[in-house]
């Protein structure tokens, strides 16, 4: 194969139908891999594919060029059938430099498409990637994979030769050349990207023209260069009819709050301190002031949560968001909201830990922190979204429950959901359940801790209400009156009451959906972002005739009321998690069930192949 293959004039190429493909764009963090992947996602969505994405980037903002730790990648799986995950193994890898090849090659399936940018394979970059010699010269590489060596930089420069731009600016368009080429290979429409280029570079027509030309040049190269003998077509997936958009988890959380603010008709105050991977929620909310969203970039995590609590005391919806390290700092504040019995929503966008850990990588290891990570007994409601789009409903639900029960609600998302996107069926906002806020104004019979018999919620009183002046605080208080009390029996009663109030939230939980037989050999129980990996693995096992079902918990505290019964209907229970076994401990403790964990803590989503293997092992038929 030659990198300067002559075009085949009007050459006829075959187009093969495939069901799904997993493609990863990888390059230096300055190579624009994230935008390339995002655009390919939009193209695929517009082509009617179902899809799931996995952006993966270094924590360093501008990591040194060409290094292994500076590699940034974007992976997506798209297909004509239901797509649950970004995929385990790659059908195609685009490697823009030697470091990207080195880091990602092992994930490429044998026989997979390997597209490399030859220009970047020069001695300096090879050395930084730790290659003693050029790996592209190894015959084994071309034997094992369908290797396409293309001088994408050179071809881009030539396509832009006559544009009045610096060589550096021209060179920066090479990612769009790659996108054009991959778009041709998978028959993706270019129009969404062409439109997006015009929007993104509206301020500089010459930059817009350069990227447009690079994109088209890449596409034309695929069509005409004789090195590519076939392209692939994917039928549109069967998806529920309606209007769709691409949705990431963090945007969905923010928009869920917007919906809740509009529906509840009170201001929403979001206190946050910048932290990866939660910052984009603050940034998104700050753009939507028209919804009466008031964002406070606080001086620290503690101020962020306490400002939210102050807002709730004032009769607004107080929300704070962070990642694990920040949640640890907020612990005392959350305890205040527990005892003051004020509504509070806390987003925890989990990342790898302990301590600073892996800021840009995903993990599910904050479940115990969410449930127990405060002094004394301070129960909160814990819920978790299953997919990026589900984050919208979870945020809305968090506000609804917090306000109805006067209780803190912790939402456990993670880095994978936060940045990952999926085609999302846009809901009819009118069908969202009402958020009923009751601010007490009636003086007669008022006490600060008088409880609603159904929810045990105490009355929410907005300061400014005449005749209802009262004091609350962090000291233990007598039930009903709210007066400070050190009385032993009262404390015992209040500890139980706060716990019971959280337990009562179980009445909000719909019956658990069982994916598969209602009784059988293996039940796989998951929560949070592992939904896709688990579902794909379970459906594969079911297709093989295995007696396997799965359930996915959106409510972790309290647990669904029907869960105990469901667990007993299967011989074995498997709990896959991106931690060393947290939900599995809760289930064992709560239901005395001999559940076993499947645990990988690699900073990455679980591979559905691995879950499938774990199911097989449990069935004893590996």
């Amino acid at each position: 194969m030659s990198e300067s293959a002559p075009p085949v004039a009007g050459g006829l190429k075959t187009r093969r139908d495939i069901e799904r493909a997993v493609v990863r764009f990888a390059g230096d963090s300055g190579d624009g891999m994230q935008i390339t992947g995002e655009q390919f996602t939009i193209e695929s969505a517009v082509a009617g594919s179902d899809l799931a994405t996995l952006p993966n980037f270094p924590a360093e903002i501008r990591a040194p060029v060409g290094t292994l730790f500076g590699v940034s990648s974007f992976q997506l799986q798209f297909g004509s059938q239901r797509v649950y995950t970004p995929g385990d193994r790659l059908d195609m890898l685009v490697a823009m430099n030697p470091a990207a090849l080195k880091v990602h090659l092992s994930d490429l399936k044998p026989g997979g498409l390997l597209l490399v940018n030859t220009e970047a394979f020069e001695p300096g970059n090879l050395k930084k990637a730790g290659y003693p010699s050029d790996p592209l010269d190894e015959p084994a590489l071309a034997e094992r994979y369908r290797l396409h060596k293309v001088d994408m930089t050179g071809l881009t420069m030539r396509a832009l030769a006559d544009l009045p731009l610096s060589a550096k600016d021209k060179e920066r368009c090479k990612n769009f050349f790659a996108l054009g080429l991959v778009s041709w290979i998978y028959t993706r429409p270019l129009e969404p990207t062409l439109e997006s280029i015009q929007k993104k570079f509206a301020k500089s027509q010459v930059i817009a023209d350069a990227n447009t030309r690079a994109l088209k040049a890449g596409h034309a190269f695929g069509e005409t260069a004789e090195i590519f003998t076939e392209s692939y077509a994917i039928e549109p997936a069967e998806m529920a009819p309606g209007l769709y958009r691409a949705m990431t988890g963090n945007r969905a959380l923010a928009w869920g709050l917007l919906a809740a603010a509009q529906r509840s008709n009170v201001p929403l105050v979001y206190g946050a301190y910048p932290i990866t991977p939660a910052s984009s929620i603050l940034e998104e909310l700050a753009m939507h002031k028209r919804f009466r969203i008031r964002t406070i970039q606080a001086e620290d995590e503690i101020a962020a949560v306490t400002a939210a609590i102050g807002a709730s005391f004032g009769g607004a919806i107080g929300v704070t968001g962070s990642s694990g390290p920040g949640i640890a700092l907020k612990g005392e504040g959350i305890g205040l909201a527990v005892t003051a019995e004020l509504p509070l929503v806390i987003f925890d966008i989990q990342r790898g830990g302990p301590s600073t850990g892996l800021p840009t990588k995903t993990e599910q290891a904050d479940l115990m922190q969410a449930m127990y990570g405060r002094n004394s007994e301070s129960p909160v409601v814990v819920i978790a979204p299953a997919t990026p789009g589900d984050c919208f409903y979870i945020a809305y639900e968090a506000v609804r429950i917090a306000a109805k029960y006067m209780v803190p609600v912790m939402v456990l998302s993670d880095g994978f959901l936060a940045n990952g996107s999926e085609p999302w069926l846009i809901p009819d906002a009118a069908t969202l359940p009402p958020i009923e806020l009751h601010f007490r104004t009636e003086k007669e019979g008022f006490f600060p801790y008088l409880r609603d018999p159904a929810t045990l919620a105490r009355p929410w009183v907005r300061p400014g209400t005449p005749g209802l002046e009262h004091r609350i605080g962090g000291l233990e208080k007598q039930d009903v009156t709210g007066n400070i009390s050190y009385e032993p029996e009262n404390h015992d009663h209040m500890v139980r009451t706060r716990a019971e109030k959280v337990r009562r939230v179980a009445q909000e939980i719909p019956p658990t959906t069982i994916n598969g037989p209602v009784a059988g050999e293996v039940l796989v129980v998951g929560w949070g972002s592992t939904y896709g990996s688990i579902t794909a693995a379970v459906e594969r096992a079911q297709a093989d005739g295995k007696s396997v079902a799965s359930i996915h918990l959106r409510h972790l505290n309290p647990l669904p009321p029907d869960l105990g019964h469901i667990l007993r209907e299967y011989r074995r229970v498997l709990v896959p998690e991106i931690n060393s076994g947290q939900l599995v401990r809760v289930l064992r403790a709560e239901y005395l069930v001999d559940a076993v964990g499947f645990n990988r803590v690699r900073g990455l989503p679980l591979a559905s192949d691995d879950i499938h293997d774990a199911i097989s092992q449990l069935l004893g038929d590996h």
Partner: protein, 344 residues
């Protein structure tokens, strides 16, 4: 939206007395504590604020001073250690219509909550901060505090403390405070006057109240308690008046010598050379904040009161502008905006 937020407050504020601001809770400070006098002065000042009592909120952190809200018949929130300024910031952003007081102490406000104090002051949130400074941790039974003098012998520093104290007024000014004042728990009239001045300020008002802990740090402020000493050392600041102090028969004055304040006999300098107090001059306030015995007098009163943009005013103004320019937010419209595609 409350009536006041809607600008529809029609009913005149009732005529209150001190009693209207007393809650039904037993006050639990040690007998003889300076906090009693402060509580009384605040309750007495409230009727003169002209604010409906349901619109008043007292927010506190932890410590002896922070029990304060329980004793006020207004809205109150006794929160966690050091965080009252942050709670108050969230409250004011949600409810700019409320009158919010933060009651704190030297440990709560300048040690565990020092960071929040810095940021509430620089943001200029419209709250009144009353910092009771007794130079000791009282509630935890007598450890030294961030305002305790160097070498202070306490239970936790049997050989004397090794850390230098922070000066609350200089700290506040360094944070960009727009109102800074000092008063003394044993000077009830001045205290009431200062509380009213601080309360009327638009922006963050920082009032240090020198307070006696008769159990763990008795007479720590004796220099301004003892009648003779007070007469000799207290410099009462009054806007537009020259900086004079000391007994009537031996008045002293402050003058500037280069970049350094200097104490002189009043009769030795011409009136034109006297330093006249100007609350609008922050630089002068910074010099005053550092003055203390034995070399200088102890200033009480308002060191500075200036106007500056207020945090929640800007937040609300941005919101109102966004709504008036583009209408209130509509989630249904937002959901279908941007790149969408239809599947039939």
């Amino acid at each position: 939206m409350s009536a006041t937020e809607a600008g529809a407050a029609a009913a005149p504020t009732p005529k209150y007395t001190k009693k209207d601001f007393e809650s039904d809770q037993d006050v639990r400070w040690c007998p003889g504590c300076g906090d009693y006098a402060i509580l009384s002065a605040i309750q007495k000042s409230m009727p003169d604020l002209g604010i409906p009592k349901e619109d008043i909120v007292f927010v506190s952190g932890i410590g002896c001073s922070s029990r304060f809200p329980y004793y006020m018949n207004t809205y109150g929130f006794h929160t966690i250690h050091g965080r009252a300024p942050a709670i108050a910031t969230g409250l004011k952003v949600a409810r700019p219509d409320l009158k919010v007081f933060v009651v704190t102490g030297d440990g709560d406000g300048l040690s565990i909550g020092g960071n929040h104090m810095l940021h509430v002051l620089r943001r200029n949130v419209n709250v009144t901060i009353l910092l009771f400074n007794n130079r000791i941790y009282g509630l935890t039974k007598g450890q030294y505090s961030p305002t305790s003098e160097l070498g202070k012998v306490t239970k936790s520093t049997p050989l004397g403390s090794a850390d230098r104290p922070v000066n609350p007024l200089a700290f506040a000014l360094g944070c960009g405070a727009t109102f800074v004042g000092r008063t003394v728990d044993r000077d009830v009239k001045h205290m009431e006057e200062m509380i009213k001045r601080a309360s009327a300020h638009h922006g963050t008002a920082f009032l240090e109240i020198l307070q006696n802990c008769n159990i763990y740090n008795h007479l720590t402020w004796n220099v301004v308690y003892d009648k003779e000493s007070k007469a000799a050392h207290e410099l009462r600041l009054e806007h537009g008046k020259p900086l004079l102090f000391g007994p009537v028969d031996d008045r002293h004055a402050l003058v500037m010598e280069g970049a350094q304040p200097k104490v002189v006999r009043a009769k030795d300098v011409p009136e034109s050379a006297l330093w006249v107090h100007d609350e609008t001059k922050v630089n002068a306030a910074k010099l005053l904040a550092d003055l203390w015995t034995p070399d200088y007098p102890i200033p009480t009163g308002v060191l500075t009161a200036i106007e500056a943009p207020v945090y929640e005013d800007i937040v609300l103004e941005q919101e109102q502008r966004a709504i008036s320019e583009r209408g209130p937010g509509d989630i249904a419209k937002l959901l279908t905006s941007g790149d969408t595609w239809k599947i039939d």
